[in-house]
Point group: C2
């Protein structure tokens, strides 16, 4: 049986457009000889649709489009769409064929943790689904499941085994599983467990594309009953994977480097955010530092050099090397580059505030004014020319609150806000290695990081120490006490965990940030601002 | 039996402090002769604790404090705290007495909609709880339930009836039910339904205090078996309600006006946000308009006039009456007031951008620069003096996107962001009526609203038309098509719904806003930024 997995990139809410896209790929699959065509979870409405699911008209439109697709169907196809019944709303997989809906399966396991809120919207199904599919006069029993149904180890069930017991000869899982580092290996291991349990082939079709903070990576997988990989979709791009199950020869799991994966994830994140919100051009501040340099590279690769505008906004504290590094980067990237000095504007603010500030010493107030002038200049360019501002802060800074709200945090999209400073270095080195030359000036990578908001300032952290500790607290969800028990400096751990806690208010107003780790700041981490829990007190 | 309901105001995460507070009120209740003392839902840890619930140490600390309270207990008490077992985490009501935990009840109905995420954290209990309580040598069977257990009409159950069938002679519901307009009536009606069903008394103890966006109003209620109200807690303040059930005489439900309730809700919202984040002083821009005037009044009543700083930041487009109105308001409120003109700073920005803007006509870019200068000035004062900025935008503006990100949207707390422009007028008139003089200058209320960002500008909406339509779309969750079917101008409905959709990106970066309606922008409304669903297309 020749199965074609269409890992496509729909848009949340764009039901008619998604339908056209589905039919286009469906006909391509048929032209390539498919006996069965498979699409991802909720592909018709996009994922996650969030509160759009609460609107009756939205569900009605999806239902209407589904019926149209069914009417146009010839070869059997599986795709995800919601179903509303008197009992509730279900996240469903539909099997369509020869002009009708043959059957549907209601998702049983509804993830409600991290970035997932499915219990908010959906009612849980109660029955595993095994359907007869007639192809070339042979009936095959197909088990249908949806995303989390595969990740059943934290639930008291084994849905794949249940399907096998109900006669399934092949399992199809349609997913909308967002990328994070290491995810491909997790999925492959899990599927191989299921194949080991059931001794039947497993077909896994995953969504592609970015939606707000989430990036879906595709990388669909097909394993045969001997647990050999026989099909794999590319990463971060639409793809059609056609596999003759029972015939196809084993292949090797294709894995690119961690840095390359993250880079391509962020590239897709930018590209889709722009395309799906109707933007074409980006603007960002170039400080000569590593964060903005890396962000600019990704933006150029996502949007094209003609669509990225770099702005250097030097103050009296900016070093010559910073200005040079920014200019060289812009030349390397072949992007529009302009210099807008902020000194006269800073002086105007000083004048306006002189009466209020007459008896006080310079402090963070004056430093933040500079960051906010820069943020305002970028927004002025954005408002004037419809360029979308990219913010360039990294996760370590965002955790520590070492960033200025309404200043360098300004932007429609935070590109590297889920990258630790350690990862920013790793990706920057990878960029240069991959380019074969110092696309990012070596000086930007090697000099001590500085915000350059006062004379001789350098960032007040040893990132080699702080960055992994932040990752341990956020991504590994370790408690401060555990880290101290592991031997880390108690004062440092205390300081970092306190900063993370008291700076929640800044992150709450941050631009949406592209998620690439197991725990990003944003929709998957819901921590109160008013929060007096300090286990070290 | 004399029951004392302690509707107290704990702080999320402050377990030790909350414990002290609970014991303090407990002893006060005992001194007043209580036979049974009742505290609200999750009172020991605060509500909603969000992802703090995922931290083992947090649950351990709560458990430890609960055991300490139990050890110190004499007279029976009921209070809410989490319980972790091998099966999961439960939202529980504990009955403590004479040094031990007598029993506990696991919440059955877990709200997972609007602002509630309980399925994210808790496992659902499966058994209603009826406990024997011995008081004065008489055993009374008490049914315990928690918040949503009362709101069971959308679930296939009637927990109060179940309890009655299991012998309950009195029901106690401990709640953390956030305020919104009309909530007291809803609760009273619901409880009266349950009393009608069961013919036994119903004791409802609700939390008080603000937590991020949510404001808990207290207003605990006690009904006797004849369905007479026999006890009511005050609104928006801590209170102890001691009722001799079976003896107490009926009272009238006390209800203040809608405007007074909303005003006091926001007052508590400000007071708690400041107190619980360790802030004392506020700063806000005073434009002479109605939004900032109303916000200033609430701030003064919440924090004291000595703790509120008003700043007028006139531009060349500011009218004389605006400046006068702002000054008069500040005088009326007896607050610190300063004038910081923005013209020279605006000129500096014009200069910095002249090369970039050389071939373009003035547009929203120049207007937003003014708003961002003001936002930056307020933040400079905030950074210098540790004053917390209050933002003053209303819900209608926020819906329409008629506000400047990183400008007038700046602030740690958005005070009136859940008030429609219509409500802003209503509350302002109430303020003046209540004060017995024009505390808010009549001119601020009566003049046409204007942002004054260009010559002769007035707000481009007829708020009398737009404000109710926004409320219908957001709070009543009507679809644009429904409104058109009801006879509203299709073009206007289309424009408003489009603006609401495309401005989600601004609201995502807004300050947390105090919720007073059935649907506020914020945690209870989760709409994607990338969203191509337009039912009118």
């Amino acid at each position: 049986m020749k199965i074609s997995l269409c890992q496509i990139n729909p848009t949340v809410g764009a039901i008619s457009k998604n339908k056209v896209q589905i039919m286009d790929w469906y006909h391509r699959a048929i032209a390539a000889g498919a006996d069965l065509v498979v699409f991802p979870e909720l592909v018709l409405i996009g994922y996650p649709p969030q509160d759009l699911l609460l609107r009756d008209r939205f569900i009605q439109e999806a239902n209407h489009a589904l019926n149209e697709i069914a009417a146009e169907s010839t070869v059997p196809m599986v795709l995800g769409s919601p179903l509303k019944t008197d009992d509730g709303l279900y996240n469903c997989a539909f099997l369509l064929s020869e002009g009708t809906i043959i059957c549907h399966y209601k998702k049983i396991l509804l993830p409600t943790y991290d970035v997932f809120d499915e219990d908010r919207y959906f009612t849980s199904g109660h029955e595993t689904a095994v359907f007869d599919l007639n192809i070339h006069d042979k009936t095959t029993k197909i088990g249908l499941q949806i995303c989390e149904d595969l990740w059943d180890k934290d639930y008291a069930c084994n849905l794949a085994k249940d399907m096998k017991q109900n006669g399934a000869e092949l399992i199809i899982n349609i997913s909308a599983s967002p990328y994070r580092t290491g995810r491909l290996k997790d999925r492959a291991a899990l599927i191989q467990n299921k194949v080991a349990d059931t001794k039947i082939p497993f077909v896994y079709c995953n969504l592609v594309g970015a939606q707000d903070e989430l990036i879906f990576d595709g990388q669909s997988l097909v394993y045969d009953e001997q647990n050999n990989l026989i099909g794999q979709g590319v990463a971060f791009e639409e793809d059609i994977i056609s596999v003759d199950v029972g015939v196809a020869a084993p292949i090797e799991l294709s894995q690119s480097s961690r840095e390359e994966k993250i880079y391509n994830a962020l590239l897709l994140g930018i590209r889709d955010y722009f395309a799906k919100t109707g933007h074409k051009k980006a603007v960002l501040g170039l400080s000569g530092g590593i964060d903005s340099s890396l962000t600019a590279c990704i933006a150029v690769d996502a949007l094209g050099s003609e669509n990225v505008h770099g702005v250097s906004m030097p103050s009296k504290y900016s070093s010559d090397h910073s200005k040079d590094d920014a200019r060289i980067l812009a030349e390397n990237l072949n992007i529009d580059y302009r210099v807008i000095p902020i000194e006269s504007t800073a002086t105007a603010f000083d004048g306006a505030l002189s009466e209020s500030f007459v008896e006080s010493d310079p402090n963070v107030a004056e430093e933040n004014i500079q960051a906010r002038i820069r943020g305002t200049l970028l927004m002025a360019l954005s408002n004037k020319f419809n360029w979308l501002v990219l913010s360039t802060g990294n996760k370590t800074e965002l955790a520590m609150g070492y960033c200025t709200l309404y200043g360098d945090m300004n932007g429609g999209l935070a590109v590297i806000s889920d990258l630790s400073k350690t990862d920013v270095y790793a990706l920057s080195r990878w960029v240069n290695k991959n380019a074969g030359f110092a696309r990012i000036p070596v000086n930007s990578i090697e000099k001590p990081p500085s915000a350059e908001l006062r004379p001789d300032q350098v960032d007040p952290f040893d990132y080699d120490v702080v960055s992994p500790l932040v990752s341990a607290l956020i991504e590994d969800e370790k408690s401060p006490s555990e880290l101290i028990d592991e031997g880390y400096d108690p004062e440092l751990v205390k300081d970092i965990s306190r900063r993370i806690r008291i700076n929640e208010y800044k992150r709450r107003q941050a631009a949406p940030g592209l998620r690439v780790t197991s725990k990003a700041f944003g929709m998957g981490r819901r921590v109160p601002i008013v929060n007096q829990f300090d286990e070290l007190k």
